[in-house]
C-alpha cells in the first residue's frame, strides 16, 4: 500500500511541476469555449441592446483630441448622415470626442491591469463603467441637442442596429 501511495505521489508531483517549466518557454495551452451566440441586427435589430448599439456607434463616429484632417472629415461625413442641423452636429461631435477620450482611458487602464497581473481583472467592472459612460454621454446629448435633433439621432442609431452583430451575452 505504501508503495502504491508513493507511486501516486510521484505521478501527481510530476503533473504539478510539468507546466511550470513549460509556461516559461511556450504559449500556455488553454481552451476556447464556443463563442456566445451572435445577434445579427439585420435579422433581429430589436434584440440588440441599446447600450451596445450606442457604444458601437459612439466609437465609430468619435475622434481623439489630436485627430487629423482626414479623421475630422470622416466624422463630419458620418454625422451628416444623420441629417442634423449644424448646431446639433457640432454639439454631437463635442460629446462624442469626450466619450472617446473617456472610453480610451477606461480600456487602457483595464488592459494595463490585465497585462500586468497576468490574469483577468474583473471584466464586469469595465463593462459597468462603459455602460455608465454610454448613459452619461446620452444624458449629455439630451441636454445639448434640440428636441428634433435628439429624436433624429436616436432614430438613426436604432436604424444602425441592422449593421451590428453582437454576442447574445456579455453586452
Amino acid at each position: 500500500m505504501h508503495r502504491a501511495l508513493l507511486v501516486a505521489l510521484g505521478v501527481a508531483f510530476s503533473l504539478w511541476i510539468a507546466p511550470l517549466g513549460k509556461a516559461q518557454n511556450a504559449a500556455t495551452p488553454h481552451q476556447h469555449a464556443s463563442a456566445s451566440p451572435m445577434i445579427d441586427g439585420a435579422v433581429h435589430p430589436e434584440l440588440i441592446p441599446d447600450s451596445a448599439a450606442y457604444r458601437l456607434y459612439f466609437l465609430s463616429i468619435s475622434t481623439s483630441l489630436n485627430a487629423n484632417d482626414a479623421e475630422r472629415n470622416r466624422q463630419r461625413a458620418r454625422i451628416r448622415m444623420i441629417g442634423l442641423s449644424d448646431s446639433d452636429a457640432q454639439a454631437l461631435a463635442v460629446v462624442m470626442n469626450d466619450f472617446k477620450m473617456k472610453y480610451v482611458a477606461l480600456v487602457v487602464e483595464y488592459n494595463q491591469a490585465a497585462a500586468a497581473h497576468g490574469a483577468a481583472p474583473d471584466i464586469s467592472v469595465l463593462r459597468e463603467q462603459l455602460g455608465e459612460l454610454v448613459r452619461t454621454s446620452r444624458d449629455t446629448l439630451k441636454a445639448h441637442l434640440s428636441v428634433q435633433g435628439l429624436t433624429q439621432f436616436d432614430a438613426f442609431v436604432q436604424s444602425e442596429k441592422q449593421h451590428m452583430k453582437v454576442p447574445a451575452e456579455g453586452q
Binding site: A26, H32, A119, K165
Partner: protein
C-alpha cells in the same frame, strides 16, 4: 490498491484547480462587429467602415496565460481600396480589443461598387476565435425624390413659398438646384405682355437643411417660390383681361431638380410647376410636383 487509486485521484484533482494552471482556463469570446457605408465628406466619395470591439471572458478569472495574445483585425475592401487587414496590437487574452478601419473611395454617381468587409480576432494559440464577414454593393447615396409642402409668407404674396423634403438618405448641408426642363407654357400670355411666353425656372440653388436662410428640419430646403409676383398678376388681371385673357389662365413650368456632387449635378426629380391666376379678386394658386399631382396652395 483501491486506496492508492483514491490518493492519486485526489491529488490530480488538487493539481487541476491550481491557480495559473493554463489547461484549466476557459475563454468565451464576446466580440461585436459594426459596419457601414455612406457618402464621404467631400467630392464623389464613398465612406466605408468596419469596427470590431470586445473581449474574451476567462474562467476562472485568475488564469495565467503566459505568452498568449489576442489580436483584432478589420478588412474593409471597397472596389480594391483597403484591400488589406487593419490590425490592432496583439494584447493579452483578457484585454479589451478595439479596431476601426475606415476607407474612402472616389466614386462615380450611379455606379455600384463591390464592398467586402470582415472582422476577426485571432488568438496566437487557438487561431481565429471571432470571425464575421459580409459583402454588398455600395454606391453614392442620391436623393430618390422629394415631397413638397405649400406654406405662406405675407412678404412673398401672391407667390406661394414651398418647402421641399428630400427622400432617400440624409442630405443636410448639401446643395440642390433647379434647372430648366424646357420652355414652359403660358396661357396667360398676350402679345406685348411683360411676362414671358415660354417661362422657365430661374435656376435657384438651395442648401439642404435650411429654409429661407434659417435652420430647418432634416432634408428640408426652401423656399421654392412659385407663381406670378403682384405686379405681373395685376398686369394679367387688368391689361391681359382687356386683351382677352380669361380668369383661371394656367401657366406651366418644367423644373428639373438636381443634387450637387462636386463636379457634377445629378438630377433626381422632375417637377411640373403650375400656377393659376384668377380675378376678381386677384388671386393665385400654385402647385409643385411631378405631373401636377402634388401640393398646391395660395398665399
Amino acid at each position: 490498491m483501491r486506496r492508492a487509486a483514491l490518493y492519486l485521484a485526489l491529488l490530480l484533482c488538487a493539481t487541476s484547480f491550481r491557480p495559473g494552471r493554463a489547461q484549466d482556463c476557459e475563454m468565451i469570446p464576446a466580440y461585436s462587429m459594426y459596419f457601414g457605408a455612406g457618402n464621404g465628406s467631400s467630392g464623389n466619395s464613398i465612406l466605408t467602415f468596419v469596427e470590431v470591439e470586445g473581449y474574451a471572458n476567462i474562467y476562472p478569472t485568475d488564469c495565467a496565460l503566459e505568452g498568449v495574445t489576442h489580436q483584432g483585425s478589420a478588412y474593409n475592401d471597397v472596389d480594391g481600396v483597403g484591400n488589406y487587414w487593419e490590425s490592432g496590437s496583439a494584447v493579452c487574452p483578457s484585454c479589451y480589443v478595439y479596431v476601426l478601419d475606415y476607407q474612402t473611395l472616389q466614386a462615380t454617381p450611379g455606379v455600384s461598387y463591390p464592398w467586402n468587409y470582415q472582422a476577426k480576432v485571432v488568438c496566437s494559440q487557438a487561431g481565429t476565435i471571432f470571425n464575421e464577414a459580409g459583402q454588398q454593393k455600395v454606391s453614392l447615396v442620391l436623393p430618390t425624390g422629394e415631397t413638397s409642402e405649400a406654406t405662406t409668407n405675407g412678404a412673398l404674396a401672391p407667390e406661394v413659398p414651398f418647402i421641399a423634403t428630400l427622400e432617400g438618405g440624409s442630405f443636410n448641408g448639401h446643395q440642390v438646384q433647379e434647372s430648366s426642363g424646357g420652355p414652359g407654357v403660358n396661357n396667360c400670355y398676350w402679345s406685348g405682355a411683360p411676362i414671358p411666353q415660354y417661362p422657365v425656372v430661374q435656376g435657384t440653388s438651395w442648401t439642404v437643411g435650411t429654409v429661407n436662410n434659417q435652420a430647418a428640419g432634416a432634408n428640408q430646403y426652401g423656399y421654392d417660390t412659385i407663381g406670378w409676383n403682384a405686379y405681373d398678376l395685376n398686369a394679367i388681371a387688368t391689361t391681359g383681361a382687356a386683351q382677352g385673357i380669361k380668369s383661371g389662365c394656367v401657366t406651366e413650368i418644367y423644373q428639373f431638380m438636381e443634387y450637387w456632387f462636386p463636379g457634377v449635378w445629378d438630377m433626381y426629380k422632375y417637377n411640373l410647376l403650375t400656377f393659376t391666376a384668377t380675378w376678381p379678386p386677384q388671386e393665385q394658386e400654385s402647385c409643385r410636383d411631378e405631373a401636377g399631382q402634388g401640393e398646391c396652395g395660395s398665399n
